[in-house]
Structure formats: structure tokens, C-alpha cells
């Protein structure tokens, strides 16, 4: 019964690094770090941290970005779903949004910066004929002090995440039937969705929403590109402290990392309280019995919203692509004056080993995550147990700020001699990859008709054979998609790769963010595109392979 080891293995892989890392952060926060001469506990790091003049603004802007991102992405997804559920456009919206999930934050952040900056594509398209500008306007758009451009970049990425999470939750709450009943009772589309589907759907969505909130509060890589820098968000301030040459500041950095954790926990608490209040108001509104809710406005707004998202992303990638082949492109030209493939030629030679390493790492991590997930799910199936609450633990790595435990986890990996090589980095990637793979595959697994397995067993197959010869082949597509998602998450890891790899395990993401320091847009364009292409490859495989394998099995091709 190897499957019994699945759940403990899952919990160990997810929680050990987090807990050990948090401990290794907590001790220096209270002055204990023997290598730096800290041998007794003290509150000095906290005093020094709280005396930091920019601290309040850093916390403020982090909270603002976190809440704005969460509210906007949740709102947008609700509007999209309310307007399109059950229509023919729904499949189109799904197809437009799904690929976005695999786009790394950093690539999108760079692309967005190229579009909305004062010297970016939007102003170029409007200048000089509409704006009269011959030079970029002196406007603070990127790195704005309120983090609005950062929030915008995050919202673009979180909408597809929440949208797909909602799609996965719809069947569990029997949404279509509830929606149809409400419609027959005379509720218009938006009112029906908001009053009947949403109250059932939201509890399923709570953890993903909190993950969005926590991520917005603690994101580092995208904040380095789009976020404010005078002062930066709290997470970036932690990184700056942790990387300060004055090693005495490292105690302060640990204290700041603990503070980051506290801010996230506080924000989650606040969200849960607000959620209650909103739930109460919602209930009053639902029993009010109104059949309409902004029907016309939303039916106009939703397609515009979907179009705006698609357009912004398309522009972002167009400008990455244009910059990567631009020899010379000065404001306000819409089109580069000259093109060159020199940058691609030169960078591809440099990038090839890095791309191979990223591929290998991502495939290995995704494979390991799939194995653990299948062990857990098959364990559920064999023992006939319902999915336990314990599985909510898989959200912990998504809720605890990376910066709060990764520095500690990195020290731990060094102590175990697992640092600076692909294996150690892979282990830490697994912490972030496993939750997504598990979420993705468990939905399909639990939807799988149990009668297939029962039939196999009745026909004399062993449980192994029922798994190996019946269930896994039938779930090939779902497994490949979960694997592709895991691969995409592994590719996009920045902090984990940087801190545990010790700089030696370069992936396309560390390389891209590292180049951001160099800021040659053409090189950034090349690497952001490479970074964004790799996850697409994963998803392409997950679509093409089943089509080839099952070319004679139509039902398996179209699940």
C-alpha cells in the first residue's frame, strides 16, 4: 500500500521547508544568529526596523496593492462569468484567458511596462498627432508611488487564475441547474448569477482569493519591474535589507520578513471580516427579491473588459517582440526605424544551456508533483475516503509570503548540502508547484466516474491494473494539463531559484530579472519572450499529445 504514503509525503514536501524556513527567519529577527555574532535574544532588530522612516509607507502601499488586486480581479471574474455563463461566447472567453495563466508574471510585467510607460506603445500610438508630444511626457506611470501599475499587472494575471478556479468549482456547486432555475423564475442573467450561484460558489473560491491577496501583498519579481521604488513595497524592502552589504542589517531583514508575514496574516483576517459583512449585506439583498441588477451595464461592460484584457496582453507581447528585434527605436516612432536579429542570435547562444536547464528542472519537478498527487488521490479512491480538510494545507505555501521563509529555507539547504544544484532548487520549486498540480488534477480525478473502476474490478482486474490500464489512460489529458501547469509554475519561480540556487542554477526567469538591472530593452524582450514561450510549450504538449495518442478515441480527445 504505497499509496498510504501519499498524504504524509505531500504534507512533508509542502510544510517542512515552510516551517523550517520560518524558524530560520524567526530566530535572527530576535537577534539570534551566531555567524553574525548574535548569540542572545534581543528586540534590537525590531527597534531598528520600526525606526525605518519608509516602513509605514511600504506597508501602506503593499496593503493597497494587495486589496486593490484582489477586489478588482474578483470583481472582474464575477462580471465575466455572470455575463457569459451558458452563452456561446463563454468558450471563447475561456480560450482567451486560459493561456494567460501560464504567462510568467515577470514577462507580463515587462511587456506591460513597455506598453503603458510614458515612452511606451500607447503614447507612441497617440504621439505626436493627438498629444502633440515630441518627447515622452514627464508622467509617473511605471513605479508610481501607489503601486497602481503593479496592481494592474497583477490583476491581468489573477483574472485567469480566479476564472479557471471558478470554472473548476462550478460543477461542484451544481451551478448550471441553480442558474437555470433562477432564470425560469424570472431573474435576469446577472441577478441570477449574483444571487443564486455566487453565494454557493464563493466558499469554494475563498482559498484561491486569499492566495491572490497574499500574493499581491508579498510579490517580489513583478514589484521590481512595475512597483514603486521610493519607497518600495514591503516585500522589496525586505529583499533590499537582506541584500544590504552591511551584514548587521540582516537581523533587521529577518525582522522585516516576520513583519511581512504578520501583515499578510492581518490582511487575511481583515478580508475574512469584510467577507462576513459583505455576506450579511448580500443576504439582505438576495432576499429582497429584485430580478435585475445592472443587466444592461454589465452586458456591455463584460465584453469590453474581456477585450481590454486581451488587447493589453496582445500589446504587451507585441512590444516585447518589437523591442527584441529593434535596432533603433526612439520616441515617438510607432515602429522601429531598423530591425536586427543580432540580439536574438547572440542571446540564443547564451540562453540555450539555460533553457535546457529550465526545461529539465521544470519537467522533473512537474513529474514529481504528479507522482505525489496521484499517490494521494489514489489513496483516497482505494480507501474510499472523502477529500479531507487536511488538503487545505496545500494552500499554505501560497499564503505564507515567499520572502519570509525562503531565506531561512536557503540556509537549511546549505546545511544539508542541497544548495547550488538543480536537485535542491527542484525540491523548493516543488513546494510551489505541488499545490497547483494537486488542485488541477484533483478536480478531474474526483469527477471521474467511479463506475469505470468498479467495472474493471468486477472484471477481475487488480486495483493496480484498474489504475494503470483504465483510470490513468482516461485521465491522460487532465494529467498532462496539471503537469503543464506545474511546469509553468516551476519556470516562473524567481526567489526560490535565486536563493537556493545561490546564483549557480540560472533559469530563464532569474536571467530575465537579472537583466532587468541591465535594462537593455532588446535583451529584456528576448528573455521575456523565451520565458513566456516555455510554459506555452508545456501546454502545447498537453493538447497535442492526447490528440495523437487518442486519434481513434474521440471521447478521450474531447474531455
Amino acid at each position: 500500500m504505497i499509496f498510504r504514503f501519499g498524504p504524509p509525503l505531500l504534507i512533508a514536501v509542502l510544510l517542512l521547508p515552510v516551517l523550517a524556513g520560518l524558524t530560520a527567519t524567526l530566530l535572527p529577527a530576535f537577534g539570534y544568529w551566531p555567524a553574525l555574532g548574535g548569540t542572545h535574544f534581543t528586540l534590537d532588530p525590531w527597534r531598528a526596523l520600526l525606526a525605518l522612516p519608509s516602513l509605514r509607507r511600504s506597508i501602506g502601499v503593499s496593503l493597497f496593492v494587495g486589496f486593490v488586486t484582489t477586489v478588482f480581479s474578483l470583481g472582474a471574474v464575477t462580471v465575466l462569468l455572470a455575463a457569459f455563463m451558458g452563452t456561446r461566447l463563454f468558450a471563447l472567453v475561456k480560450r482567451l484567458l486560459s493561456p494567460l495563466l501560464s504567462v510568467p508574471y515577470v514577462a507580463l510585467a515587462f511587456g506591460l511596462a513597455f506598453v503603458i510607460a510614458p515612452s511606451g506603445l500607447i503614447f507612441r500610438l497617440l504621439s505626436p498627432w493627438a498629444t502633440g508630444l515630441e518627447r515622452p511626457p514627464d508622467l509617473l506611470i511605471i513605479n508610481d508611488p501607489y503601486g497602481l501599475s503593479l496592481a494592474c499587472g497583477l490583476v491581468l494575471k489573477e483574472i485567469p487564475f480566479l476564472f479557471l478556479m471558478m470554472l473548476a468549482a462550478l460543477p461542484q456547486v451544481d451551478a448550471v441547474r441553480a442558474f437555470t432555475s433562477a432564470r425560469t423564475l424570472g431573474y435576469r442573467r446577472v441577478a441570477a448569477f449574483a444571487k443564486v450561484v455566487m453565494p454557493r460558489l464563493y466558499p469554494q473560491l475563498r482559498l484561491p482569493v486569499l492566495a491572490v491577496l497574499a500574493y499581491g501583498l508579498s510579490v517580489v519579481d513583478a514589484a521590481l519591474v512595475l512597483g514603486p521604488n521610493t519607497p518600495p513595497t514591503l516585500a522589496v524592502a525586505v529583499l533590499r535589507l537582506a541584500e544590504d552589504p552591511d551584514l548587521a542589517l540582516h537581523f533587521e531583514a529577518s525582522a522585516a520578513a516576520v513583519l511581512q508575514l504578520a501583515v499578510v496574516l492581518w490582511a487575511i483576517g481583515l478580508w475574512l471580516v469584510l467577507e462576513r459583512l459583505a455576506g450579511f449585506a448580500w443576504r439582505q439583498w438576495v432576499i429582497g427579491g429584485g430580478r435585475f441588477f445592472c443587466e444592461a451595464a454589465i452586458s456591455v461592460m463584460a465584453p469590453l473588459l474581456a477585450l481590454a484584457i486581451a488587447a493589453l496582453v496582445a500589446l504587451a507581447f507585441a512590444s516585447l517582440l518589437l523591442w527584441s528585434v529593434a535596432a533603433n527605436w526612439r520616441f515617438p516612432e510607432i515602429w522601429p526605424q531598423a530591425f536586427t536579429f543580432d540580439i536574438w542570435r547572440r542571446e540564443l547562444a547564451v540562453a540555450l544551456p539555460i533553457v535546457l536547464r529550465t526545461l529539465l528542472l521544470g519537467t522533473g519537478v512537474a513529474g514529481a508533483a504528479l507522482m505525489i498527487t496521484i499517490l494521494c488521490l489514489e489513496n483516497e479512491t482505494r480507501r474510499g475516503i472523502a477529500p479531507g480538510l487536511a488538503f487545505n494545507l496545500i494552500y499554505i505555501p501560497l499564503l505564507v509570503p515567499q520572502i519570509a521563509f525562503l531565506t531561512g529555507a536557503a540556509s537549511l539547504m546549505i546545511a544539508l548540502k542541497l544548495d547550488g544544484n538543480g536537485f535542491g532548487v527542484g525540491l523548493v520549486h516543488l513546494v510551489f508547484v505541488l499545490p497547483y498540480v494537486f488542485m488541477s488534477l484533483s478536480a478531474a480525478w474526483r469527477d471521474y466516474d467511479p463506475r469505470y473502476r468498479a467495472t474493471a474490478l468486477l472484471l477481475g482486474a487488480s486495483p493496480w491494473r484498474a489504475l494503470w490500464a483504465v483510470r490513468l489512460p482516461m485521465l491522460t489529458r487532465a494529467i498532462l494539463i496539471a503537469g503543464a501547469l506545474g511546469f509553468a509554475i516551476s519556470v516562473s519561480q524567481y526567489l526560490a531559484t535565486l536563493l537556493v540556487g545561490g546564483g549557480r542554477v540560472a533559469t530563464v526567469t532569474t536571467e530575465a530579472v537579472g537583466l532587468a538591472a541591465g535594462a537593455d530593452r532588446r535583451v529584456v524582450g528576448v528573455f521575456a519572450l523565451i520565458q513566456a514561450t516555455l510554459p506555452f510549450l508545456g501546454f502545447a504538449v498537453s493538447l497535442i499529445l492526447p490528440a495523437l495518442l487518442f486519434r481513434h478515441r474521440r471521447a478521450l480527445r474531447e474531455t
Partner: protein
């Protein structure tokens, strides 16, 4: 299920063994008096060189040095590109915390200033080695004291000088006719051309150096800056600096509400036409950017009349480096006249050499004389007087004071 459980103690034992094993092989420190032994031991090693990776020209140079090292000494060089050199310091520190006193990840760091001060103070460096390198004989440290003192901290052989840098400004159009000749005339220029100048965020060394440049020019007694900063007179010494910055701030790009993060981001603003005036620590920056097609042909460099800050950057080997011999060979190669001349070529990175022309043979001197000079590069005479770096404590403290003043509101 029983057989699987039996494997568990074995597995745990293996983990424990793996954790303990690696570090036991005691490595002797290389004997610097015995260079042939270093040559022999270094062969086949892979040197991990941690360097700021933001300059494509420098990355290309490091790749060239790697190829030369492989063919000459059988040493492979891997550049670990950093966004900030402090990452390497943190790395060595993390290893020390974890008790990894041998076999560390970092073999060589490109370093200077506070990063060096911090590593030296915390005993994270191998050495002294610098003056035992065979090619150190071409360095004239007696006449150029900045090669033995890094931001006033004595290097004591714990790092080898590698490259010289000096603040230069570069500008286009309105910034050139005539160009500002001092910090005060820069302020006047900024008032006349609002939003067309900015310096990098002082958390970056170039931004911090701009503050030091202004401080040296405006403080009543510049000699005071060679001594450590002190609470007693910090406010008095720096008052003119902050009065200046207060006056400058509303006329900066984005009214001083955001600052580019480093020299490359600053150069990009210039390339986009968002500003007309920028600065760099690399005298060849403007020329090489013009050569790459990033900046327009009309950009030119200039310095202030009374001089600008200059310093040396160095190469250091961490105390726990796994491949010290290879790192020593690489250091020595990088100090060779051939490698130094290649580095100074403005068509590439353009960092000034640390070698003394007087100490070179005629053949080697010719390598330097043959170097082309880019359209926007100043000659050594035009670069003018070099102002010395203040004690590192000033940098740390004015940066903190800057953050308190402009980020805390």
C-alpha cells in the same frame, strides 16, 4: 506495506550521511609562493565568478576571458550574474552561518566599497594574495594610492585592483551648450530644464556616488570626509548637501517622486528621450551605447571643472572558495596587460586599466596606445582631477538620511 517501512531508517541514514560527508575533506590553502603548484592544481577547476551582470559589454568580456582561461590554463569560468554585488556577500555569509567553511559556491567576486568593507570586517575573505600575483608587478600602487585603499579602507592584499572608474556626465542637446561645470551649475541647469535630469536611486552605488560628489563639492571641509562619519558633526557636514537636494528635487524627472534603479535604467531614460542629462561610472558608457545603437550620435560626455569622484574596483576570493587556485589564476590573467587592454577598449566594456604605463614593456604599452577612443569618450587629460572616495560610513549614512528625507514622507 511492511517492506517499504524498513527502507525508512536507511533513507534517513543516507540523508544524515550526505549532510555530514562532503565537508570533511580538508583543503590546504594555496601556497602563493609556489605559483607552479597553483598552475597545476588550478587545471581542470571551474571558477564561479560572481559579478554584477547588468552590463552586456562586460558579460561579453567575461565570456572572452573564460575562453582564454580554458585554452591557457584549462580553467573553466562561469559568470554568475548578480543584480547587486551584495548578493554574493549574503551568499558567503549564509554559508558561514551553515558551517560551510570549505567548498563554498563563490570563487571570485567583483567588489569594492561597502561590500568589501563588510566582507573584510566579517572575515569572509581569503588572503592576503593580491600582491603575490605575478602580474601585480605592473601595478604602481605607490603612486596611485586608490589601488591599495578601497573607499579609504586599506585592502591589505585581500582584493586585487582590477578596473578604474570615474564619474562622467553625458548629455544631449540642451545639456551640452554649454555643459554644467559644477554641482551648483547643474542645479541651475535643472531649474531651466525641469524634468530633464535625474540621478539613480541612492540604494544603487551610482546614485550614492552622485550624493557624495555633491557632498564633496559643497561641504565646508572636504578633508573631514576621509575620516569616519560621526553623530557629532554629521548634520553640519551634510547640511549643504540636503539643502541642495531639496532645491533640486522639484526639478528632477518625475519631480523626484521616482528614481531609476541603476545606471542602465538611467541610460534607457536617455535613450527614450525622457531626459537630456545623465551620469555614469564608466567613462566609455556613452560611446559604447552609441556604438550599440542605443543612444543617438549627438550624445557627448563631460566632467565637472574641479573634478569628479573616481575609484578602483577589485577582485576578491571568499575564505571558503572551493576553487581558490583557479580563482588566483583568473585574477592574475585579468591583471595581464593583454586582458587589461582588452577591457579598456571602448568598443567593449571600456573600464580603465589599473596598470602603470611606465611599468609596461614597449610592446604592451603599444596595446593601450592602439586602442580606439569612441566619439563620446574623454581622454585621460580631459577626465581631469580625480576626487577620492569618502570613508564608506559617509555613504551608508547619507543614503539612510536620503531615504528618511525623501522616502519617509
Amino acid at each position: 506495506m511492511k517492506p517499504h517501512l524498513k527502507l525508512l531508517p536507511f533513507f534517513l541514514g543516507f540523508l544524515a550521511f550526505a549532510a555530514v560527508a562532503g565537508g570533511r575533506a580538508q583543503e590546504a590553502s594555496p601556497d602563493l609562493k609556489n605559483w607552479p603548484a597553483i598552475l597545476e592544481k588550478g587545471r581542470g577547476q571551474t571558477v564561479y565568478w560572481y559579478a554584477w551582470g547588468g552590463s552586456q559589454a562586460l558579460n561579453d568580456y567575461i565570456a572572452w576571458a573564460g575562453e582564454e582561461m580554458r585554452s591557457r590554463y584549462g580553467v573553466s569560468v562561469v559568470e554568475v550574474k548578480l543584480t547587486d554585488t551584495a548578493e554574493a556577500v549574503t551568499r558567503v555569509l549564509a554559508e558561514k552561518s551553515a558551517g560551510r567553511n570549505e567548498g563554498g559556491a563563490v570563487d571570485l567576486v567583483w567588489i569594492n566599497g561597502p561590500n568589501f568593507a563588510s566582507m573584510k570586517e566579517n572575515h569572509l575573505l581569503f588572503g592576503p594574495f593580491a600582491e603575490d600575483l605575478p602580474n601585480f608587478r605592473y601595478v604602481d600602487a605607490a603612486t596611485n594610492p586608490s589601488l591599495r585603499s578601497d573607499f579609504t579602507i586599506p585592502t591589505e592584499g585581500f582584493e586585487a585592483p582590477w578596473s578604474l572608474a570615474q564619474i562622467v556626465f553625458y548629455g544631449d542637446g540642451a545639456a551640452l551648450s554649454p555643459h554644467p561645470g559644477s554641482a551648483l551649475s547643474l542645479l541651475d541647469w535643472a531649474k531651466a530644464h525641469p524634468g530633464r535630469f535625474v540621478y539613480p536611486n541612492p540604494s544603487n552605488f551610482l546614485g550614492a556616488t552622485f550624493l557624495k560628489q555633491v557632498l564633496i563639492e559643497l561641504t565646508p571641509d572636504a578633508a573631514r570626509l576621509q575620516q569616519p562619519a560621526d553623530d557629532l558633526d554629521f548634520d553640519k557636514v551634510t547640511a549643504p548637501l540636503f539643502a541642495y537636494l531639496d532645491a533640486l528635487r522639484p526639478h528632477l524627472w518625475r519631480q523626484g517622486r521616482a528614481y531609476p534603479l541603476n545606471s542602465a535604467a538611467l541610460r534607457t531614460l536617455m535613450a527614450d528621450g525622457e531626459i537630456d542629462l545623465a551620469l555614469s561610472f564608466n567613462p566609455a558608457e556613452a560611446s559604447s551605447a552609441i556604438a550599440r545603437g542605443e543612444l543617438p550620435m549627438s550624445v557627448r560626455s563631460f566632467v565637472f571643472d574641479k573634478g569628479t569622484i573616481g575609484n578602483a574596483s577589485f577582485l576578491a576570493i571568499p575564505y571558503n572558495a572551493a576553487h581558490k587556485e583557479g580563482a588566483l589564476l583568473l585574477c592574475d590573467f585579468l591583471l595581464s596587460p593583454e586582458a587589461q587592454a582588452k577591457k579598456q577598449n571602448p568598443a567593449g566594456y571600456g573600464g580603465l586599466t589599473v596598470l602603470s604605463m611606465r611599468k609596461l614593456s614597449a610592446v604592451d604599452r603599444a596595446r593601450f596606445e592602439a586602442l580606439p577612443r569612441g566619439v563620446a569618450t574623454l581622454s585621460t587629460e580631459e577626465l581631469g582631477p580625480v576626487l577620492p572616495e569618502p570613508h564608506p560610513s559617509w555613504m551608508t549614512r547619507i543614503v539612510t538620511a536620503w531615504q528618511r528625507r525623501y522616502e519617509g514622507q
